[in-house]
């Protein structure tokens, strides 16, 4: 079977799954969203305990169908990637049809081009890594969710959305042009919205969902402008064509200084700051934890939030040509990393710690990408997917065991009660802290080294990265000690009900833990020259993508390995700092404590940290209350008062004028006529007296007259 020509099927399986769930799912699981979700109160599972669901058998169908669709995609991805490896140029495009078939337009140079975008897919080493991560880890999370969501209402709806997400995410990474990538980009945003707001009866959930979508839209606006600018400069949206043009040297004018290309790259990065939760648009991600935990693991840790990193890596030729923008990318990543890590230090909600940790780790990825080490960014994306998905799923298992409790101050001493969860999360926490041998060490250390040594890097950014790494080790182990060690701090009822999660949930944890341990060994440092080259397969696999037109990154790499002694020293430093973080956490939280020791440790900074540096408050003031509500109200008044006031005013004026006319008509014109009539009437009054209409009177007057006349004649 030629899997390479069938890559269009990879996103299609989950789409079919989603369609099946959303169209006929209600019949399979008639106890729909509302009734059960309402009964849930808080919405997290367990309120029901472990009773048998009335539709257990039909639910099982969903539980097979939905992960099955993702598994099929995974198998087809494996097949395609294996076949890709045997291609010489390691790139394969499949175009299904012309999607956007716009009309001709003039590029910035005056050349005539046509505005089109295909429904086309590109499989190359970069997208191959992405589809394996998405379908592989996605499959595990689907399995986990069949257990986690077992007692929730809207089972079909949940899996329908989840499958739909996988469809859009695969479309995003397989797209062969920016427009289709953007379609996937918006699509995953929609699924994120639907899943954050899955417990839609909760105001906080739908608020968080709205926030996620709208904040992302801000970034997307930048993405759109960047896309149009690139289109205007190059005349195409297709990656392969655009990269060829960009590397052809035709754009030297635009790259001199902060030119049009730099602006385009910056606009695209604005999109990335939305999707990948970087400054200034990271604020939606912590709130996104309102969604069910499998969603946090899949969408808001392992896959969707890495889309921005993927997009920058996909546009690496552009970023390699625009060093100023790359520096902004790196700086933004660094500042976001340390800011988010600092907030994570003091959080007490187990999922919020992990959420800020994700923001911070994404910052690391952008540090690497900004330094020109695109493969390292993707490498960290890949290792992070393992240990962060693991940590989220583990936290879900903890919450499950704690009857929905998420506050770590009311946990403690869980390690023997839920041993599998503990052991797997232990592996994940060691991995993220950067202890040698585990996945996180390899990727994070490579990032720090690249930032330190490559021409695009900087010493200051390296220092920030190092401090952030120390914070990472500390907050992760603060989480571990608060949750699993020390004294139990939960109430008796909760303590009584603590139980290990079912196999459907622990099995994915075990697989992900294994991944967190071994996944890094395909990206071992060059410094470890005692290892054969196959331990550096990741870089070799991706190199054909990134060397194409990116001489800077390659040169950086050559420079990177001339001073082995320095590199060993830096590696030792980062390991020492990681160990220091863990040990500090242990000394503070390892023993009995009542007041959170972080309060005295952070001193006066504790309050601003607890309040997340007040960023949400400032944004609410400026954009929600100020721009949206204030501006809307102001313009609403303007609309009713001024514009419509003018319209109604002219209507009133017309009516007034007509009244005046009527008055004029009645009293002046008609008045004059009636006055003359009146005068005539008055004048004729004496005459009229005679006009009685009685013949007798007339006859009398007549006779009188005749008598008078005759009398006058007589006497005269």
């Amino acid at each position: 079977m030629n899997f390479l020509d069938l890559i269009w099927l990879i996103p299609l399986f989950p789409l079919a799954g989603a369609a099946a769930m959303l169209l006929i799912g209600r019949r399979l699981d008639p106890q729909g969203a509302s009734a059960v979700a309402l009964a849930h109160g808080l919405g997290e599972p367990e309120a029901h305990g472990h009773h048998h669901h009335p539709f257990a058998s039909t639910r099982r169908l969903i539980a097979y169908l939905s992960p099955g669709a993702v598994l099929l995609s995974f198998l087809f991805s494996m097949g395609a990637v294996v076949q890709l490896a045997s291609l010489e140029h390691r790139s394969h495009e499949v175009v299904l049809y012309t999607w956007i078939s716009g009309l001709p337009f003039h590029t910035a140079t005056g050349a005539l081009s046509t505005f089109t975008a295909d429904w086309g897919f590109l499989l190359d080493p970069l997208s191959s890594v992405m589809i394996l991560v998405i379908t592989g880890i996605g499959f595990l999370i689907h399995i986990y969710a069949t257990g986690y969501m077992a007692h929730d209402g809207g089972y079909y709806r949940f899996f329908g959305y989840l499958n739909l997400f996988v469809f859009f995410m695969l479309t995003l990474v397989l797209a062969n042009n920016y427009a289709l990538l953007f379609a996937g980009w918006e699509g995953v945003g929609l699924c994120s919205y639907l899943l954050i707001g899955f417990y839609f009866h909760k105001k906080s959930a739908s608020d968080a969902a709205n926030k996620a979508f709208i904040v992302n839209r801000v970034g997307d606006a930048g993405f759109l402008i960047g896309m149009f600018l690139l289109l205007s400069l190059t005349g195409t949206l297709r990656f392969t064509q655009m990269n060829e043009l960009l590397t052809s040297g035709a754009f030297t004018a635009e790259t001199a200084g902060f030119g049009a290309l730099s602006v385009a790259a910056l606009c695209l990065f604005a999109g990335a700051t939305g999707k990948s939760a970087q400054l200034p648009l990271y604020v939606w991600l912590p709130d996104a934890m309102e969604g069910p935990t499998p969603v946090s693991a899949l969408i808001h840790a392992a896959t969707m939030v890495t889309a921005g990193v993927y997009m920058v890596a996909r546009s690496h030729v552009l970023y390699a040509l625009t060093p100023e923008t790359s520096a902004i990318v790196m700086g933004t990543g660094a500042v976001t990393a340390i800011l988010a890590a600092s907030i994570a230090l003091v959080q007490n909600d187990i999922k919020r710690v992990l959420a800020y940790s994700t923001v911070s780790q994404l910052g690391f990825m952008f540090m690497a990408a900004g330094a020109g080490a695109y493969w390292v960014a993707v490498f960290h994306l890949y290792t992070h997917a393992f240990f962060k998905a693991l940590l989220f799923l583990g936290s879900g298992s903890v919450i499950h065991a704690m009857s929905g409790e998420q506050d770590m101050r009311r946990m403690g001493a869980l390690k023997d009660k839920i041993p599998t969860t503990f052991r797997t999360m232990f592996a994940g926490s060691v991995a993220i802290a950067g202890i040698p041998g585990l996945a996180g060490f390899f990727s994070k250390d490579e990032i720090l080294w690249q930032v330190f040594s490559s021409p695009g890097g900087s010493l200051a950014v390296y220092a920030v990265g190092l401090i952030t790494a120390a914070m990472t080790a500390f907050y992760m182990w603060r989480l571990m000690f608060m949750t699993f060690y020390g004294e139990p701090r939960m109430d008796a009822e909760t303590a009584r009900r603590i139980h290990e999660s079912p196999a459907s949930m622990t099995l994915p944890l075990v697989v992900l833990a294994a991944g967190s341990v071994v996944a890094g060994w395909i990206g071992a440092p060059k410094l470890w020259s005692f290892l054969p080259d196959s331990f550096r397969a990741f870089e070799h696999w991706l190199m054909p993508v990134f060397t194409h037109g990116a001489p800077r990154a390659a040169a950086g790499h050559e420079a990177a390995h001339h001073d082995a002694g320095l590199e060993w020293a830096l590696m030792a430093l980062s390991v020492a700092i990681a160990l220091g973080g863990i040990l500090l956490a242990r000394s503070l939280y390892g023993n009995r404590w009542t007041v959170d020791p972080i309060e005295s440790l952070t001193g006066p900074l504790h309050k601003p940290l607890r309040n997340k540096w007040y960023v949400d408050e400032v944004y609410t003031f400026l954009f929600i209350d100020g721009l949206a509500k204030g501006g809307g109200r102001l313009l609403g008044v303007f609309d009713r008062g001024v514009i419509d006031g003018g319209v109604n005013g002219s209507g009133w004026l017309a009516r007034f004028a007509s009244r005046v006319s009527i008055w004029w008509d009645t009293w002046i014109i008609d008045g004059a006529i009636r006055l003359s009539a009146l005068l005539a009437q008055a004048a004729s009054f004496p005459m009229r007296l005679a006009q009685t209409g009685q013949v007798q009177t007339y006859a009398t007057v007549f006779l009188l007259g005749v008598a008078l006349f005759l009398g006058w004649r007589w006497f005269a």
Partner: protein
């Protein structure tokens, strides 16, 4: 009789039959009205089937003298743009008629008669190639709409109906002045009186006269669109009109304005259309409309009023596309006119569904509807997403293409317009949250029935249409490609030639456009 005349007059023939049904037979009247709407749609199909996409000119042309002494003719024909809008009209008529089944119980016969009369008027506007014929149909539309609002409308129906009538009539009168100027100019030049559009194309007019005629037509069209600041009739008319009236108003009537720009202003007055001041004013008003409409949406407490203001914002995109004066801007605008008809039509139907159940439009009266009405919530979600321009649904295709065209014309304009995309998501999602999500707080919403099969049948064609355009817009682009190219070629001769020497900055600003024309084509 040509297929076009058949399509045009079918609703009138159906109206004649309707009038023969006694008023007491309500069911028969309703049934026949729905059959009529379907017949009207069926009459469009031969046009779509026989349409030649490779021909950019008018097809199914038919002409006969009407008032020979003044050169007025019965002159009709369609190109891709007008045929698409006629198809939208026919589909909207079907949907609007079916949606009225339970909503209208009072003066049923008159109501459906008005709908059919309205349909004739709208089809006539899009089919006319004679200016007087166009004007007659344009005014004909006014009358049934006035009665639809004034008789079957909400509490403030008289105010709204009168406002609608007077507003549009003012525009129409000025438009008539413009038409007459063109007519007399042509008469004095050629010695033969005519109102035929293609004959008027050959007119040579001094620039100042083009400008005056442009502004005269502009008032007529801008009020109809409506463009900021001529929009305030719209919220009242929409809010007070019965559901079907709002649907037709939004889906079709507003498009008469944008259609007017495309069919008359641009081709007949090319020098004025590309004039720096005029382009700047129109692009400025479009962007103001986009942002202003969206921001005003954010403070609305009335569900229907919010949708009405969203139309102001969306139509701003349509006029922005037109006055980008390039193929993608205009093609995107036509696509978006169609898309807006579908998505805003759905949004008004959604309000109508709830109004029928609760007899209130106050957003705060609702909340948590998804619990009792999941089907409704789903359909509403599609309407919201389509309106917000989510990819794979129809709205994206239009917005994306318009923005590309706008970007080509002016990077600043596109960058400002794109803010409207953000705000669009904001007010729509907020509306959805306040009405449909959350807990049921008002017990009156606790026992509402979900969509009936009839209501589903109303939404189904629109949802399917929205997806089909979003997934495969190519047939639509093919249909309008050539007519759009003709308009662009008329306004900017030589556009479709490579201009490798043109300075890159020329494209940034419409102001520089005349210079391009000079270089490419010379004086006309």
């Amino acid at each position: 009789m040509s297929p076009l005349s058949l399509a045009l007059w079918t609703p009138l023939a159906c109206l004649a039959v309707l009038l023969a049904i006694p008023s007491s037979q309500k069911a028969a009247i309703k049934l026949w009205a729905n059959v009529s709407a379907l017949l009207g749609l069926a009459a469009i199909l031969p046009l779509l089937a026989g349409f030649d996409k490779t021909n950019g000119g008018f097809q199914f042309v038919e002409r006969a003298p009407w008032v020979p002494s003044l050169g007025v003719q019965y002159y009709i024909g369609v190109d891709g743009i007008s045929l698409l809008l006629m198809a939208l009209t026919a589909v909207t008529a079907v949907v609007a008629t079916l949606s009225s089944w339970n909503a209208i119980e009072d003066r049923v016969k008159q109501y459906y008669a008005m709908l059919l009369l309205l349909q004739v008027g709208m089809l006539g506007v899009f089919a006319s190639l004679d200016f007087i014929l166009f004007y007659v149909f344009w005014e004909l539309v006014l009358v049934p709409m006035y009665f639809l609002i004034g008789v079957w409308g909400g509490p403030r129906k008289l105010y709204a109906a009168l406002k609608f009538f007077l507003y549009t009539l003012t525009g129409s009168v000025l438009m008539l002045l413009g038409i007459l100027t063109l007519f007399f100019q042509h008469w004095s030049q050629s010695g033969a009186p005519t109102f035929a559009i293609d004959a008027l194309l050959g007119l040579s007019m001094p620039f100042w006269m083009q400008q005056w005629v442009f502004w005269a037509l502009f008032i007529g069209f801008a009020i109809k669109v409506p463009m900021f600041p001529f929009h305030t009739w719209l919220p009242d008319a929409h809010t007070e009109a019965p559901t079907a009236g709002s649907v037709i108003l939004a889906a079709v009537l507003l498009k008469m304005g944008t259609y007017g720009f495309l069919r008359f202003s641009l081709p007949l007055l090319p020098d004025a259309s590309i004039d720096r001041t005029i382009v700047q004013v129109l692009v400025g008003l479009s962007i103001t409309g986009i942002l202003y409409g969206a921001l005003v949406c954010l403070m609305q407490k009335d569900w229907k009023r919010l949708v009405a203001y969203s139309s102001v914002s969306h139509l701003g995109f349509c006029t922005l596309g037109i006055f980008s004066l390039n193929p993608n801007g205009i093609a995107g605008s036509v696509m978006q006119q169609l898309n807006h008809g579908i998505s805003t039509g759905m949004l008004f139907l959604v309000v109508g569904v709830m109004y029928e159940r609760r007899h209130t439009r106050e957003i705060s009266e609702y909340g948590g509807l998804a619990h009792r009405m999941p089907l409704f919530a789903t359909v509403f979600a599609f309407a919201v997403l389509s309106s917000a321009g989510l990819p794979l649904l129809n709205g994206f295709v239009g917005e994306f293409t318009i923005l590309q065209g706008a970007f080509e014309a002016s990077r600043l304009a596109a960058s400002l317009a794109v803010i409207g995309v953000i705000l669009g998501a904001a007010y729509l999602l907020w509306l959805y949250q306040r009405t449909t999500l959350g807990q049921i707080t008002n017990m009156k919403n606790n026992h509402l029935p979900d969509l009936s099969p009839r209501e589903l049948a109303v939404f189904a064609p629109l949802v399917i249409w929205a997806f089909s355009i979003g997934l495969y817009p190519k047939p639509y682009f093919e249909m309008i490609e050539r007519p759009v190219a003709r308009i662009v070629e008329r306004v900017r001769p030589g556009y479709f030639q490579e201009r490798p020497q043109a300075p890159a900055l020329a494209e940034l600003d419409p102001a520089a456009a005349p210079a391009i024309r000079l270089q490419a084509g010379g004086a006309r």
